[in-house]
Symmetry: C2
Subunit: 347 residues, 2 copies
C-alpha cells in the first residue's frame, strides 16, 4: 500500500541497518548488483555509460561500501598493519605519517600496533591483526621471536621491514645500516682528535645495540676502545635519563672527551645537564646525538647528530609494500636509504 516501500525485497526478518546498499544503487541505476560492484571498483569490462550511471546512482544515494561485507566476500581486507616499537619517539611518528600518506589514496586503512619494545607483545599483536586478513605488513627491524617470524611466513601476507637492513639480505627491507651509522659517529669524533670516547644507549633495542657495535668496531680499529666507556641501560630513552647518565659518566670517568648518544633525547639531556653544571661542550666533552630530531638544532650548543631518513623510510617501505601487494616486480629486496652526519656546535 505504502508507495515507495514496495520495492523492498527479501527483507523478511529485517536485520537491515537502513544504510544504502549496493542493491539499491544497482536498482537506481537499472543494472544488476554485480555490474554495479564492478563499475564502482573500476574493473574494466563494464561499458563506460553504465559506469557513469552507477557512479551517479551511488553519489545520489550516498552509497559507501560496507568494508565487512567486502572483506568477507573477497577474503581480503583493505587493511595494512604497521607495527612499531614506540610512539614516544618522534622517529616512528614521522614514519607512520609517511606510510599513511602513501596508503590513504589507495583506499588502504593503516592499523597501527605499538609493541613497546616487547617481543611477546609484538607476537600477540601480530596474531590478532592477522585475523583481519591484512593486505600487507610493515614491521620494524628484525629482532623478534621465532614464532612471530613463522607467523609472518605462514600467513603469506606481503611484508616489508623498516629501519634496518636484513643481514640475510633475503627479506624486503627499507632502511640504513645501523652499524655503519655507529662507525660514522665514532670516526667523526676521532677525527676531531678525541681519544676517550663513550657510547650511551638506552632501551637496549637491537638498533641501539647495532649502533654500539659499529662504534666499538671503529674504536678498536683506532686502538682506543675501552669497554668501561660503554653505558647501556634498558630504561626508556628520555631527556631526563640523558642528563642522569651524562652526570654519572663524567663522575666515573672525568677524562671522557666525547660521547655518542643512541638517541637525540639523551644527547639533549646531556647538553642541558652540562649547561647546568658549567661543563663546556664541546671544549671539555663533545656530544653527538642520533636521529636529528627537529629540536636538536636549537639546543645550546646546537647538537651534532646523525640524521636518519625516517620519512623516506616510511614512504618507500609503503610504496614497496604496494608493489608486493599488486604483484609488481621489485628489482632488489633491499633499499638502503643511508643517513647523514650533521655537524653543528656540540662536536
Amino acid at each position: 500500500m505504502t508507495a515507495g516501500n514496495s520495492d523492498r525485497k527479501h527483507r523478511r526478518t529485517s536485520r537491515a541497518t537502513g544504510r544504502v546498499t549496493l542493491d539499491q544503487v544497482a536498482r537506481h541505476a537499472g543494472v544488476s548488483p554485480i555490474t554495479a560492484s564492478r563499475a564502482l571498483r573500476g574493473l574494466a569490462s563494464v561499458a563506460p555509460d553504465l559506469v557513469d550511471r552507477v557512479r551517479q546512482a551511488a553519489d545520489a544515494l550516498g552509497y559507501v561500501a560496507n568494508p565487512a561485507a567486502r572483506a568477507l566476500a573477497s577474503q581480503q581486507s583493505q587493511n595494512v598493519v604497521v607495527l612499531v616499537p614506540s610512539l614516544g619517539n618522534q622517529l616512528f611518528i614521522d614514519m607512520l605519517e609517511a606510510i599513511h600518506a602513501v596508503m590513504q589514496p589507495h583506499g588502504l586503512e593503516v592499523l597501527i600496533g605499538n609493541h613497546h619494545y616487547d617481543r611477546d607483545e609484538e607476537e600477540k599483536l601480530l596474531r590478532n591483526y592477522l585475523s583481519y586478513q591484512p593486505r600487507g605488513l610493515l614491521l620494524t627491524g628484525f629482532d623478534r621471536t621465532e614464532s612471530t617470524r613463522r607467523l609472518v611466513e605462514a600467513s603469506g601476507v606481503p611484508c616489508v621491514y623498516m629501519m634496518d637492513l636484513d643481514p640475510g639480505a633475503g627479506l624486503h627491507c627499507v632502511g640504513f645500516s645501523q652499524v655503519r651509522a655507529g662507525e660514522t659517529a665514532a670516526r667523526h669524533l676521532l677525527q676531531r682528535g678525541r681519544k676517550r670516547l663513550a657510547y650511551v644507549g638506552a632501551q637496549l633495542d637491537q638498533r641501539t645495540l647495532l649502533r654500539g657495535e659499529g662504534y666499538r668496531r671503529a674504536l678498536q680499529q683506532a686502538g682506543c676502545y675501552d669497554p668501561s666507556l660503554e653505558v647501556l641501560t634498558a630504561r626508556a630513552s628520555s631527556v631526563g635519563l640523558g642528563g642522569e647518565l651524562f652526570g654519572q659518566l663524567l663522575a666515573n670517568h672525568p677524562d671522557v672527551d666525547a660521547i655518542f648518544f643512541g638517541n637525540d633525547d639523551l644527547a639533549q639531556g646531556a647538553l642541558l645537564e652540562a649547561l647546568r653544571n658549567g661543563i663546556r661542550v664541546p671544549e671539555q666533552v663533545a656530544v653527538l646525538g642520533f636521529n636529528d630530531l627537529p629540536s636538536s638544532q636549537f639546543m645550546v650548543p646546537r647538537l651534532s647528530s646523525i640524521r636518519t631518513p625516517r620519512k623516506a623510510i616510511g614512504m618507500q617501505a609503503a610504496e614497496r609494500l604496494l608493489d608486493l601487494i599488486h604483484g609488481r616486480m621489485v628489482d632488489a629486496p633491499m633499499l638502503d636509504l643511508g643517513f647523514e652526519l650533521m655537524v653543528r656546535e656540540s662536536s
Copy 2:
C-alpha cells in the same frame, strides 16, 4: 575416498581460505555452530560443560573469529574510532596510549585518525570511519564543521569528546577548562609582580584560542591588558618557532616581563633562545609553558608549566565510552579533570 576430507560440506566452488572456521570448531566439539558461537562469546544460556568443550576445541584448532564475518552478521564492528588533531604533540600520544590500554582488554580495536588540525580532513576521516560501523567515537575538542556534527549525531554512535569541556554542557566530555587554565597562568604571572605580560600561541586551534581568552580576561581584570602583546600564528607549534617568536617579541616590545606560551615546545624554544642571547630568565622575563611535557623540567632554567592530565583524559574518556556502549548509566555528561600549575625556575 580420501579419509578426513569427507566431512566437507557445501564447498562446491571452494572459496574457502583454509583458515579454521566456527563450523569446524562446532563439529570438533560436537555441537551446533550457533552453540559454539554463543559459548565463545560467553553468552549465558549455554551449559557449562558445553562451554568447556567448545573452548577446548577452539584452542585445539587455533580458532580465531573472522572479524569481517562477525561484523557483517551482527551489524557492528569491534572498532572504536579516535580522531586527534596531531601526532607530533606528545600530548595526544599519551592520550592515545591510555585509550588503547583501556580498550584492548575489551577486545576493541582502536582506529586512529589524524586530521592535522583541519576541519575538512576531520569530516572526511569521520565519513570514512563511520562506514566501519564503529562501536564508539572519541573526538578531540568541539571545533568542527556543522556537517561533521550532523554526521556524528545521525550515526547514532556513542561519542565522547576529549580535552575540552562542552560549553553547552550537553555532550559527554572529559577534559578541563581551557579558559580557566589560561586565567590561572596569567594570575600566577601577575602574582609574581609582572606587568607587561604576553601570550604566544601557535596552530590557532580552538584550545589555544580559549587559553588566550582566559589569559586576556585575567589581564583585563588586572587592568594591564595590551592587545599588541598577543602573538598568534597559524604555523605549527615547535621548539624552533618558539625561539623565533620569542626573539621577535622582545625585539618589538623590550619591556615585556613575562610570556605565557600555548605549548611547552614553544616555551622550550624561548628558553634556549634566551640562553643563546644572554637574556636572563626569569629575572628579565618570566616564561611559562603549557602541558608540562616530560623534558620541560630539565630545561635551563627548569620550565614552569601547566600540567594537563592527558593520560587521565584518555583513560576516563575511554571508560566513559565503554559505559555508553554498554548502555550503562552515566551520572553527569561532563567530567572535569582539572590541571595543575607547576612552578619551577622560569617564572
